[in-house]
């Protein structure tokens, strides 16, 4: 049932989901000052990103919480990486 490539693949899928979720957030935040309806932009962006992320996670979980944990680990790793990158950029700028 559990092949050796399953867990790295799930982790990689989590990385991809994280890139999509936080990449979308970054894109939304950048557009925010020029947006006509900032609140609506933020709400729609959050709803769409969350729906896609949770939907893919539910599909990959397949009824086993350990698989979901692997995906979530990738997701959180991507979050920490992106936040660290932004902070480093700030430190270089200042």
């Amino acid at each position: 049932m559990t092949e050796s490539w399953l867990w790295p693949a799930l982790f990689a899928a989590g990385l991809g989901l994280g890139a999509f979720f936080y990449g979308g957030l970054w894109w939304t935040v950048k557009r925010l000052p020029a947006a006509h309806h900032p609140v609506l932009t933020m709400l729609v962006s959050f709803a769409v990103r969350t729906a896609v992320t949770i939907g893919v996670m539910a599909g990959l979980m397949a009824g086993d919480w350990r698989r979901l944990a692997a995906v979530l680990a990738g997701f959180v790793a991507m979050r920490f990486f992106l936040v660290w990158r932004q902070r480093r950029h700030d430190a270089i700028q200042s």
């Binding site: 900032p38 009824g63 086993d64």
Partner: protein
């Protein structure tokens, strides 16, 4: 009231509670953060880049908590380990 019924009841109740709290908290925080950031950008347009970056870091943290709540609810509803354990061992 056997163990399975109790686990199902508590799991569903907790999943609902998790979703409720996990929706309210981040929504309030995100609204505040965005409002303050837009105010700051309006006052200091030339600092927009730095403010936007900081806003992104803050929102990433806020939205993560929402995602964690979603995940916990999903585990409780669709992949509950205790539920599976009790079903496999039998009554």
């Amino acid at each position: 009231m056997n163990a399975e019924t109790l686990i199902a009841m508590v799991s569903i109740f907790t999943a609902g509670l998790t979703m409720g709290l996990g929706a309210i908290g981040p929504a309030l925080g995100e609204g505040r953060a965005v409002a303050q950031a837009l105010l700051a950008i309006a006052q200091q347009p030339d600092e927009a880049n730095t403010i936007t970056r900081t806003l992104f870091v803050g929102l990433a943290m806020v939205e993560s908590t929402a995602i964690y709540c979603f995940v916990i609810s999903m585990i409780l509803l669709f992949a509950n380990p205790y539920w599976d354990h009790f079903l496999s061992t039998g009554p």
